[in-house]
Amino acid sequence: MPLEKLIDADEAIRRVLFDGASVMVGGFGLVGMPLTLVAAIDASPVKDLTILSNNLGEPGRGLGRTLQLGKIRRAIGTYFTTNPDVARAHAEGRIEITLLPQGTFIEAIRAGGAGLGGFYTPTAAGTLLAEGKEVRELGGRMHVFQEAITADVALVRAHRADRLGNLVYRKTARNFNPVMATAARKVVAEVDEIVDVGALDPEQIATPHLYVDHLVLARERP
């Protein structure tokens, strides 16, 4: 792991992304989404991406723009209803969608980061989203099996980083980010500010530096 992690957003995307890569992108809507890195994806030639993100931004904004550029082949997430472009791309067969309950989605990513194989959750048992999935009774209750999820790359948004790559988040922009930062082979964090080592409170660091490969300064905001 390099000790000097700060690089340019385009350079970061060049280093970690490739055609066909699976990419976790943090954010709940545009809040906590690494928009500078997403813009760098848009400006890059990469294509055929599998995006793991709660939703795909808004029409033309955030991952919504990446979708419009035709770079997303598949999306795994929980709530694509708010961007009508997704419904259109799906209807036209341009994008494959995998839908998971939000709690199952992020728990599967946590399991991937935590080196677990999978888990049983009561969520969705007996519903359409459990069809074709393994079910099992545990403690008198039906559970659905969910395999752990990892990705090639995670792009996350934090508030501040120190130069080692420790991250702290801000308010509800935290959301999926610290979990995704644990579950990908390469992790790039977009931050508002980079501070000296020792300037962050060790009790507040939600992503210790061992999870972070590259740091990028945020230029784009919602």
Binding site: N55, F80, Q102, G103, I106, E107, T123, T127
Partner: protein, 211 residues
């Protein structure tokens, strides 16, 4: 009408409870609770949701699950989504107020898949139903066309096999028992016959007390 539903749902919440409010009518419930006694949790990572801010005080990093700006109360805590759903699924949230498209006569909710459209969104609804201690379903009693939403069996896919505990509409409040629905309260100027006419599901009205 929505305000009426929200106000009635709010009355079911008890002092000290942790409550999650879904999108739509449920968000209105926040107006009718005492924020020192009821704590709002939002699944995007905040316990201690405060009221919506005036435009000049909007913090772009502070939203609720409806993706609208909120504020934070004193004593609030932020956490990541995995921790948030651990709370929800693990039974640590006392109540959820959730919008519904249909409710069947066993109290089970359909609220995530819209008729005639591909299923592209589920969000946290299934997790809330699987884990929260008390679920209060809120909806208008009928569709815009006047069709009952309380039906013998849902035509839309269920959100969970776990039923709601209460169903609140502008006409009445129902309690869900092991096997069915009981009318427990009527809105002002509404009689049982009106409710019965606009409800396709069977329900018991033995406990109805009027309002």
């Amino acid at each position: 009408m929505k305000e009426l539903i929200a106000r009635r749902a709010a009355r079911l919440l008890e002092r000290g409870w942790i409550v999650n409010l879904g999108v739509g009518i449920p968000t209105l419930v926040a107006r009718y609770i005492d924020p020192d006694e009821i704590f709002l949790q939002t699944e995007n990572g905040l316990l201690g949701v405060g009221p919506r801010p005036p435009p000049e005080r909007v913090d772009p990093d502070l939203i609720d699950a409806s993706k609208l700006p909120v504020t934070q109360r004193a004593g609030a805590a932020f956490f990541d989504s995995a921790a948030s759903f651990a709370m929800i699924r693990g039974g640590h949230v006392d109540a959820a107020v959730l919008g519904a498209l249909e409710v069947d006569e066993r109290g089970r909710i359909a609220n995530w898949a819209v008729p005639g459209e591909p299923v592209l969104g589920v969000g946290g609804a299934m997790d809330l139903l699987s884990g929260v201690r008390i679920v209060i379903a809120v909806m208008t009693h009928t569709t815009r066309e006047g069709a009952p939403k309380l039906v013998p069996e849902c035509s839309l896919p269920l959100t969970s096999i776990r039923p709601a505990d209460w169903i609140v509409t502008e006409l009445a409040t129902f309690r869900v028992h092991g096997s069915g629905l009981s009318l427990v309260e009527l809105a002002p100027d509404v009689d049982v016959e009106t409710v019965r006419r606009r409800t396709a599901a069977r329900f018991r009205d033995l406990e109805a007390k009027g309002a």
